[in-house]
């Protein structure tokens, strides 16, 4: 788990249920992985793989491929997201990458460039399972 300077882990167990925080002035370069949740207020460069939830706070930034359960983006992300849970991209977020999640929501005001690949069926008139996406990206 990434450690931050000058920040306690709120007295919680950093094992399975804890939340780790990468503070505002902290910069991590390298792969980040672990159990529990992660809150990024600083800067991370490198892939992130969690069995918990990831939150990029406003002002936080990650240049990473992300694998997590739930993902909440309020800051900047350059990289893909593969979530097994709910992805929430809130107003103020700036995201560039492809996002895959059980459910993905995008608030008006968020900046987003990338693919969203939800899994759902279309009415039969429009092709039923319709695995093909939209027009080709340039």
């Amino acid at each position: 788990m990434a450690r931050t300077t000058g920040r306690s882990d709120h007295g919680r167990d950093q094992g399975t249920l804890g939340e780790a925080i990468i503070g505002r002035t902290t910069r991590v370069r390298g792969r980040v992985s672990g159990e529990g949740n992660l809150l990024i207020e600083g800067n991370v460069e490198g892939d992130i793989a969690l069995t918990g939830d990831l939150t990029i706070a406003e002002g936080g930034r990650a240049t990473s491929s992300i694998e997590a359960v739930g993902v909440t983006l309020r800051g900047e992300l350059d990289g893909d997201v593969r979530a097994s849970g709910v992805v929430r991209i809130e107003a103020g977020a700036r995201v560039r990458g492809d996002v895959l999640g059980e459910s993905v929501s995008l608030e008006e005001g968020a900046e987003f460039v990338g693919r969203l690949d939800g899994t759902f069926d279309m009415p039969s008139e429009l092709g039923g399972e319709g695995r093909t996406g939209g027009s080709k990206r340039r």
């Binding site: 993905v104 987003f112 009415p123 429009l126 093909t132 996406g133 939209g134």
Partner: protein, 193 residues
Amino acid sequence: MADPTLIGSGTFVRGRITGTGDLEISGRIEGEVTCSGEVVVESSGIVGASISARRILVRGAVKGDLVAEEAVILEAGARVVGDLRAPRIAIAPGGMVRGHVQTGAAGQQAAPRARTAQATASKPAAAAASSSARAPAKAVAAPTATAAASRSDSRGDGKKQVAPPARAATRVGPPPPVVPALKKGTKALQKKR
């Protein structure tokens, strides 16, 4: 003010719909929709068409691209297979999309995507991707450049001059890398003789 256009749930329109005013779709459309007002695809709407309008609100199913001057809004229950492009895009929880989504003015090119350090490792394709506007040039230059570069490496000439033109080519255009490639080809032909 003109009445809004209503395509009722028992109606099927196959063709091109263009014009001014608002459009409310509860039925089925196949073709193309271009309108200067607001287009609403109701929950019973089934649209097999790209929609271009000032504002687009989807509660039903759309297979086609959605391009708006102001905003594209997908509400819970919306199902869209296609690209979304508008200055403001909102997808409510329960709104489902499969396609490329881009906020920002409709005319903008897709911004270059920075990848993690490993991904950007010297691949002409990756470098070329950053100048998406030059896509056709890239497609031609990259294979030639890579081929020329690998040929020079294997011959052990240490001709580093081939590599820089390859990278420059993806930025500038096809002509420069073709010259070194031809040189290599000529020598190969001589060899064959």
